[in-house]
Amino acid sequence: MLYPVGMPTPVELDFNPPQPAESSRKEGDRPPFESWGRYPAYSAELKHLHWQGDYPRAIDGVHHGALAVGMGRSYGDVCLLKDGTLLQTTTMDRLLDFDPATGLLTAETGITLAQILDFAVPRGYFLPVTPGTKYVTLGGAIANDIHGKNHHRAGTFGCQVTQFELVRSDGRRMLCSPTSNPDYYAATIAGMGLTGVIPWAQIRLKPIVSRMINYQGIQFHGIDEFLDLSSQAGHIEYTVSWVDVTATGKNFCRGVFMQGDHSQAPSPLKPSPKPKLVFPMELPGFALNRLSVGAFNTLFFHKQMKKRVSALQDYEPFFYPLDAVLKWNRMYGRRGLLQFQYAIPWEHAKEGTVAILHEVAKSGLASFLAVLKAFGDVPSPGMMSFPKPGITLALDFPIKPEKSFALFDRLAEMTREFGGRLYPAKDARMTSAQFQAFYPQWERFARFKDPALTSSFWERVIGGRLGVGGSGR
């Protein structure tokens, strides 16, 4: 049979390979993927993991590395992969099991803590550990081993994870728990997403009878008062302090110590309303300066007229004051913000904190949110976990390259001198030498790294795309 030119023969048609859907997407279409700090922003191919079985098939034909990412709420580049493939998990968000007697919740890891709260609070349960935003995924919470206001009592988020599944790029699936594959369990908690993809995890929720928090705000002047308040609050579930880093002289290290416990008086456990406010636009880069932040800090310090105030407060404003305004990072303008968070062990905690606060005050750079907390000594199962017993301070600065980068580099070096370390989830600047000094166990960790996965952070502090790590799996 002769076919006219141009008409495909039936044979050709039958062997027409199905074209991958991605091929219709051109390189130029990709908007850069931003972390919450909006710095750095790298373009990457974005794919979605909708189902537990989508990985590792999703990285077939991917040559420049891949990284699972959730809400992208970490500040620096642990959730970025320049020119690689990001696997966004946010549609893999199913609840798989819940035992109302024990509070054990099993869910796919793209679920956000906000979704977990919507489910759990009406059933009389709460997150055992929560960070300052509920818009992070379960997977991200494990991968960064996040901590909260109750670190001194409950430890990190990883302490609450009873088990999870880990999928490697070679297709191997492992059940990880303190007793099953304990080495991979330890490496994956705080493993920055580098040990594999976690399709689901189980956490232990804690019972509550009310949405309300018995809140107390106490003004303090100076580091000694802060330390006294911290040591007196050992029995209180949640403690955190806001500190005025713009103040100098007699007001140096003034702040408000905030503490709270879940109310034990039963009240209706309604789900939270959805936030309605969105930060409308980017402010210009000069909006947050020493004057405006200094004025804000003075107002905030004197907002409470008395030295000590008590109140019954809903958990939303207590834990998530900034979540009420979506996209609040626009406040920092187009260039974004840098976070800086250290943990310095007790041995040098006081002198280190004082020295760093002096350095910040001297620099003239204004940090809008400065959070001070005493970490407890509950050990995390995570090999690369950030918290350690001592003091932690978190600062954030709008990016002004010539000034803030120099300050950051000084602060990182000071942290190292005081035996402390920085938090990868909030970092965009630490050097390779610093990281390796902060986390000397990194070489052991690298043995558990999946060879197909990497991040811009890892490449920055260890170097070489896919160069280091992987036990040949």
Binding site: P31, G53, T91, F119, G124, P207, P266, L269
Partner: protein, 308 residues
């Protein structure tokens, strides 16, 4: 030609395998949440106050509806299932991929569906339909709502070149639903009750160069569902034609301009509400009623020069 003969890998007639061993026992007018609520006795290990709070929450407010979802792992269907489960309805879920179906089933059960049954079936295989539907309806103990969400987007460029690719799209999106709807309509009509909600698409309103094969399958489906409504609405059966615009789901993942697509959760909220109301034709989001009116009004001699 029998389309099934082309595809030897189809699931066999006994594909309707239950993943749930126990059907809802004699389920007429069964009250929501009964099956999973805590027993009312005092458990000495937990404080009493806590228990009373939890019971407040799980007080059933309404009778569980018996809902059959065909194509339960499709993005829009799954978002509806979550909301139905949350309010304690009884669900029977059918989908092709067993792992995905298991995840959606677990999610529905965890969120509080009064009972969840499921069956793995390839609905392209029309010969299995009668048995599958009979099984599902028996399991639910009746049928209040059937949501049809089977469909594929297909690859237009392939369908242009090859009839077998076009045939596959038309079969999945049009012929298989016709089979399902014929059986469901003939079950519901003599009982004068039930709602048949069918996911069609705005793409069926006008043939466009960029996806006319998918569009024609949905155009056929829309006409069929509209006609079916005109036949059995007077019998007391609600038949709904649902026309979503582009929605952020797995199906549309590779499409351009996806950032602007509708949010699947909002779409599901609208659908759950309008299915309760028993509307005839629903555009989601509602703006698409206006957009499509404009697109339909463009004269063909102009339209054929456009790149829509």
């Amino acid at each position: 030609m029998n389309p099934d003969a082309q595809n030897p890998s189809k699931t066999s007639a006994d594909a309707a395998s239950d993943s749930v061993s126990k059907p809802a026992a004699g389920a007429e007018d069964q009250v929501a949440v009964v099956s999973r609520a805590d027993p009312p006795q005092h458990d000495p290990e937990r404080p009493l106050a806590l228990r009373s709070v939890r019971e407040q929450v799980e007080v059933p407010r309404r009778t569980a509806r018996k809902i059959l979802v065909l194509g339960a792992t499709s993005g829009i269907a799954e978002a509806c299932i979550r909301q139905w489960a949350q309010r304690g309805d009884a669900l029977y879920l059918v989908a092709r991929n067993p792992d995905r179906l298991a995840a959606v089933t677990a999610d529905a059960r965890t969120r509080g569906a009064s009972s969840v049954g499921s069956a793995v079936a390839d609905l392209d295989d029309t010969t299995t339909h009668p048995e599958l539907l009979a099984h599902a309806i028996n399991w639910l103990g009746g049928l209040d709502v059937a949501l049809l969400a089977v469909g594929v987007l297909g690859e237009q460029s392939q369908a242009e070149r090859s009839f077998s690719a076009a045939h596959q799209i038309l079969h999945t999106n049009f012929l298989a639903p016709v089979s399902l709807l014929t059986w469901l309509a003939n079950y519901a009509a003599p009982r004068h009750a039930g709602t048949l909600a069918v996911l069609s698409s705005v793409a069926g309103e006008r043939g466009r160069r960029s996806n006319y094969v998918y569009g024609s399958s949905k155009a056929g489906l829309t006409a069929f569902v509209d006609g079916l409504r005109n036949r059995i609405d007077r019998e007391g059966v609600r038949v709904m034609t649902i026309k979503p615009g582009p929605v952020k789901t797995a199906m549309t993942e590779a499409m351009k301009g996806r950032e602007k697509f509708a949010d699947v959760e909002a779409v599901a909220t609208t659908l759950v509400k309008t299915i309760d109301m028993g509307k005839d034709v629903v555009y989601v989001p509602g703006i698409w009623r206006i957009i499509m009116a404009v697109i339909r009004a463009i004269p063909e001699r102009v339209f054929k020069k456009l790149n829509l």
